[in-house]
Amino acid sequence: MAGAEVIRIQDGRRADPQLCRGRTADGRPCRNRAGASGYCKRHEPGAGRAATPAPSRFEADLERALAFLRRRVTGAYAIDDFGFDPDLTENVLLPILRPLFDRWWRVEQRGLENIPASGPALLVSNHSGTLPLDALMMKLAIYEGTGRHCRLLAADLPFRLPFVGEIARKSGNTLACAEDSTRLLDAGEIVGVFPEGYKGIGKPFRERYKLQRFGRGGFVEVALRTGAPMIPVSIVGAEEIFPMIYNVKPLARLLGFPYFPVTPTFPALGLLGAIPLPSKWIIEYGEPIQTAPFTPDAALDPMFVFNLTDQVREAIQQTLYKNLMSRRSVFF
């Protein structure tokens, strides 16, 4: 129709008596034409419900999915300065990981009460598994357990890779540097760090569950400066997903990767070798190590920083041993 009237989504259109007064599942005003009662067929209160069946679960899901798609198509979502996109993370990225979490590795969480319901915390975890799937599982574990998002600190490499870098940013992670981690903690976020770095994730299978050197303790300095508590995290199970029996160093150097793994199945079985083994996982969060009692100047004392680093490292190592003992076998 030539003279069609464009109705704005603003408050003005609320006054339009021809439109339904109900709201859709995601809280937006319904855009359907209203009947005599002032509501459309779907939002008719009381008696109307009997005539038209209540929206089924399928319909509710469909409505949510379509609303999500509309937001993506029109760019109507917010991201923070680090590029964290909660809409995408909660609706797409984390749900993709859920089957791995629930079915494949049957991740068990212990000590969730040690994670604060609000305010900053620095999670310090062991790192293993050839590919950083332990980091992804930790992220999902925190979200499942507390509803909060854990902002991981990662090496430069993933952010340089196409696709990987994009997803890493959108799911809320950033470069492991003092500036970014300080900003995140000051904003009251949960930040996850893996001080072993490549030494931990790329270590040979025979050294499993032996914590590597913890860098220079930069994470402790950040915790001291921001006063955020440090929570030791011990992840059991990730060591067995891709057991690395050999590291082809020349090939790694050629490709610019920190290591090139040979596992029992990779590269012998090609893409099949990329399927991780279904080990049984336990993630335990230890008692928080408070840094608030110390002054920020403590970060300038190398001995003090070293001792605190060692304390966190020891806590993780002891919990790893304890949980390894409690696991019946690698797979159960």
């Binding site: 464009v6 069946p53 469909l62 198509v73 979502y77 991201i79």
Partner: protein, 308 residues
């Protein structure tokens, strides 16, 4: 007290011209001189236009003759296309051997300025690092990029971008000229957007292109002269740029009126970009699709219910 005497380089360009216009309205600003090779594009009342080349040593004569107490160097060129190519742009920005790109230029300009500041501590020096400008009037490679019907992006990369609205850019320049703000400041609107998100807000269709082919395409497009895809901008399409604007707000004392998203929205609505589809359309599709699929599922379950 004597009135402020200001000299602005790059007066023919958007920022230089609009800065002069704002200063003209200020009774405390005395004479204003604008230096450039081309006359100003903005209509100016009392600004004196000096046709001079800042690469020429004669510019010193201009400075001495005008007896200015404030110099605004708004002629740092980030757009090689208009200045007649990269080599020439380099020479305008700084006079030394070219290495790479605008970032390098900007860095060198800053270094020159800073060493000047050290030699002359009596002169207040403000260095502004602007994010990408956007707005309904300003013409930049980014606004031209957003005006393309189909927009090339880098496959597998989604850069975060920060934007500064043209009104805020002018306001910041005016304040830097009129007030004392020694130091270096990142200047941008609050917040960031992903390039993909910005394009969707603008209702554009993005065409991801594998990065090895982007340089090829860039030089092909550059030949047509429609849009300027320098290697610099291709880098930007891959990595973007985000700065911390904390110092601008606390020390410089100005919070841009437009956030990055608001600046973008203002640009989209006021420059009347041709959208491939609109938000209203998207909502209509959402509703139609829902009605269709819900009816489909009802029809499937209805016969079963009748059987029971």
């Amino acid at each position: 007290m004597a009135k402020q005497r200001v000299l602005i380089t790059g007066i023919s360009r958007f920022l230089g011209g609009h800065l002069a216009r704002r200063l003209e309205q200020d009774p405390d600003v005395g004479e204003i001189f604008g230096v450039d090779l081309e006359p100003p594009s903005v209509e100016l009342a009392r600004t004196e236009f000096v046709r001079a080349d800042i690469r020429n040593p004669l510019i010193v004569k201009v400075l001495q003759a005008t007896e200015v107490d404030t110099l605004v160097h708004a002629a740092v060129i980030a757009t090689p296309g208009r200045a007649g190519g990269r080599a020439q742009m380099k020479e305008i920005n700084v006079t030394s051997h070219p290495r790479t790109g605008y970032a390098k230029d900007a860095w060198e300009v800053e270094n020159y300025a800073r060493s000047f500041g050290r030699r002359r501590p009596d002169v207040g020096l403000t260095i502004l690092r602007f994010a990408n400008f956007i707005g309904p009037q300003i013409d930049t490679p980014l606004t031209r990029y957003f005006s393309l019907p189909v927009v090339p992006t880098a496959l597998g990369f989604d850069p975060r971008i920060q934007l500064l609205h043209e009104d805020d850019a002018i306001e910041i320049l005016v304040r830097a000229t009129r007030e004392q703000h020694p130091g270096t400041f990142n200047a941008s609107g609050d917040g960031v957007v992903y390039l993909s998100q910005a394009l969707r807000m603008a209702g554009k269709i993005a065409v991801p292109i594998a990065t090895p082919f982007m340089n090829l395409l860039g030089s092909a497009v550059r030949q047509t002269g429609l849009v300027d895809f320098s290697p610099e901008q291709l880098q930007f399409l891959q990595w973007g740029r985000v700065g911390d604007v904390h110092r601008l707000k606390t020390m410089f004392g100005y919070t841009p009126r437009y956030t990055t998203t608001e600046a973008l929205r203002d640009f989209i609505t006021r420059s009347k970009l041709a959208k491939v589809f609109s938000e209203e359309q998207a909502e209509q599709w959402e509703k139609d699709l829902y009605d269709f699929l819900a009816r489909l599922s009802r029809r499937r379950s209805a016969p079963d219910a009748a059987k029971v």
